[in-house]
């Protein structure tokens, strides 16, 4: 354990952050642009009480990005409007586990195949988690 090694580790970390800086900045700019767009068109997004509402919920959650708190607030609004717990749960889960906006960054840094497989399975699992959670809530 030496000061020289610590300095080397620190410089290595800074280099790692610097190398990924354009990707991180690009993702931040994309998320911000998308959030402005979302809140301009938020009221156009409607659920019709059909079976495929759960798909719409998961797709919405996958596309949208940002702090999970926003997803809780939106989910609360949806619940208040009578949208089912299954749709709302799938929406919350996909919001935090699937990242369409972050996909380019994930793909560049962790591999295209990794990013595709992880996001597709996370999308499917958002519905599965929704189903199991709602069954669990009703049973217990």
């Amino acid at each position: 354990m030496t000061y020289k090694n610590l300095k080397k580790s620190f410089v290595k970390s800074l280099m790692m952050i610097w190398n990924t800086f354009p990707i991180l900045l690009g993702v931040v700019l994309l998320i911000s642009l998308f959030n402005v767009w979302l809140f301009s068109f938020e009221n156009l997004i409607l659920f019709n009480g059909n079976w495929y509402d759960v798909l719409i919920g998961s797709i919405m959650g996958s596309i949208l990005a940002g702090n999970p708190v926003t997803s809780y607030v939106l989910a609360g609004e949806f619940l208040g409007k009578g949208i089912s717990l299954l749709v709302v749960t799938s929406f919350i889960v996909s919001w935090v586990t699937v990242g369409i906006i972050q996909f380019p960054a994930e793909s560049i840094l962790l591999g295209k195949k990794f990013a595709i497989t992880r996001n597709v399975t996370a999308f499917v699992f958002s519905i599965v988690v929704g189903v199991i959670t709602v069954i669990g809530v009703n049973l217990l």
Binding site: L6, I17, V69, L85, Q102, L110, F114
Partner: protein, 167 residues
């Protein structure tokens, strides 16, 4: 060191800037709001960035690839799974901030399934529980988090299997 991979990042940023310029032609108020929003996000990221730098410095300093592979490599077993779940839950900041570190861990031999488990468990945020409780019951939150932890392990296993088939 300039690699082809590092250029990809700059091309990506350039593409986003081009999208901004195209939107600017049609609606400059959206761009103004988006830039203010980006600045706010970047401000909130400073703290996460500092944590990330400290975290990666400590990993680079104390943990050598051999140790990392022992705890999170191919034969890490249940120990690796638990480490990934806990690390995912306690990690802070947006998911994309962690990609550089995960990339580093990936090259050091950490198991793919453990990276997937880490990313999935980032969805469980203990400090945000009071906010989610405003809209949902304790029972719902506990069941949801429990199901998500279990599913993260299953997803890790499935993703690794799919990626392995391709090789």
């Amino acid at each position: 060191m300039t690699t082809e991979k590092s250029y990809v990042g700059w091309y990506f940023l350039l593409t986003v800037v081009l999208i901004y310029l195209i939107v600017l032609v049609f609606n400059n108020s959206i761009i103004k709001l988006a830039l203010i929003g980006s600045l706010n996000i970047l401000k909130s990221l400073i703290f996460v960035l500092v944590i990330l730098i400290i975290f990666t410095t400590l990993i680079n300093y104390f943990v050598n690839p051999k140790t990392l592979v022992k705890y999170m490599g191919e034969d890490s077993g249940i120990k690796g799974i638990i480490i990934s779940i806990v690390a995912g839950i306690i990690s802070t900041g947006p998911i994309y901030m962690w990609y550089p570190l995960l990339n580093d861990l990936q090259t050091k031999g950490v198991k793919t399934s453990l990276l997937v488990i880490f990313l999935y468990n980032r969805a469980i945020k203990i400090p945000l529980i009071p906010i989610i409780l405003v809209y949902f019951s304790w029972k719902y939150v506990l069941i949801l988090f429990f199901v998500m932890i279990i599913m993260s392990v299953i997803q890790g296993f499935i993703v690794e299997k799919i990626l392995f088939i391709g090789k």
